[in-house]
């Protein structure tokens, strides 16, 4: 009985933690808007050059503690849009 309860609980936690498709497929543009606005206005992609965006987004990756995937998608979007 205990094994079944643990199994069901573990399964529920794992499935609960599984990243849904709607989250995994978020674009860099969407993540840029959502995450930047948490603390400040979202920056204009033309503000910095590609290399500067690499440094700026890494700063926010660490300062705001973004997930690695969020930081990767956001910097790709900003470099593409500038």
């Amino acid at each position: 009985m205990a094994v079944i309860i643990i199994g069901i609980s573990t399964s529920a936690i794992i499935n609960g933690c599984k990243v849904p498709e709607s989250i995994a497929s978020k674009s860099g543009a969407q993540l840029w808007g959502e995450n930047c606005n948490r603390c400040h206005n979202a920056p204009d992609p033309h503000t910095f050059s590609d290399d500067q965006w690499d440094a700026a987004v890494e700063h926010m990756h660490q300062k705001a503690i973004l997930t690695d995937l969020e930081a990767k998608k956001i910097v790709e979007f900003l470099k593409m849009a500038n």
């Binding site: 599984k18 989250i23 948490r38 603390c39 910095f48 700026a56 660490q62 503690i65």
Partner: protein, 395 residues
Amino acid sequence: MKTKKTLIVLACLGFLSGGLLNKANAQTDSNAVSVPNSPQGGGEKMLLAGEVFTYWQNNKIVGAPTTNSFGADPLGLMLMPLVKLTDRLFLDVQVQVTANPSPGGGAGVSLNEAIIYYHVANGVNIFAGNFQPRSGMFEGILDDFTNRFCSAPIGMGIGVATESGIGLQGAFQLGYSKLYYQLFAANGPQLIVDSSGAANGQLTYGNYTDNNTNKAFGGEIGFLPLSNSSLELGVSGQYTPKTGDAGSAFENISNTTYAAYLNYYHVFNPLMIRILGQYEYSQTQDFNLYTSSSSDTLLVPAFDNKTSGWYGGLTLRLSGSHNTFLSNLELGGRLGQLTLPKAALWGSPNPLNQTTVCLTYWYTWKTPINVSYDIYTQTGSPTQTAITVRGMWFF
């Protein structure tokens, strides 16, 4: 068998010749900068960010003359070199030059932060240096051009400040929610033992040299339950088992701090609403200070050394308005409180309350011009008011 041997020999020759060819090419390519036996790397990506800021203040205390000044931070320049050394290594530095408001002027230079980060794996980054630990969201996050209330909330900054040490941090997606964490070990705060009592029992931060061999341990857990990351909740804390000088009677005086915070924004088109708040608490173990280590004559008696503070604020901005001027205006209101130890000479018998109204005009996304009105009230003390104008140019 012979064919197999031949293939192996050919493969080895191919590998060697390829290596030699690559080496030759490398030598040809690096004719301009010939650095034999040099470690690989370089190609940094750098951004020199920073800001210039100025504060002007009009202060009025009931029953006293009104004063105008350029505030405690009249004029300053903060430079922030951000250097991505490699895909895993990142350097984050903050140096600040601030004009001295006292007669005679001059300027002071301070190193706010100098941190090196190393990306270990997904959701795992280690860091070391002089850093502002995550202690709620105000210090280090919302205390900059991100502060929509211009003045600082009085209840903040009583907890953990800049420290030297090492740490670990990262974030994970958990279903629709997100979780982030930070853990660190640092020099920690140092106890002030003051025979005049004026600062006895207070702590100093930003210590590059430790006063004992003990370390402070702390961390934070943040949770973003909504899929659009608009709500952020978190708790943080730090425990320092020993704050006193090694070998002194006060070495084992401990300190505990913690904080809890909330940050939420939502756009009810055209209106953007932001709600934010934080609570901070710090307790240092109490101690009697005697005239000497062998005496039982009290110089400064022990007191309940607890300090706490909180603030809560709301801002409104018509971010969806078609009128550019209106859409760049943000109105904020905030309440805050600071409670100091009652029996300390530096304490207060009653909490100090702060009410703030602030209007911000966003000249650009990172250039706010703020005008705020603060009212400070405290039972038994005259009411104080302050009008503050702040200009901040982030670059």
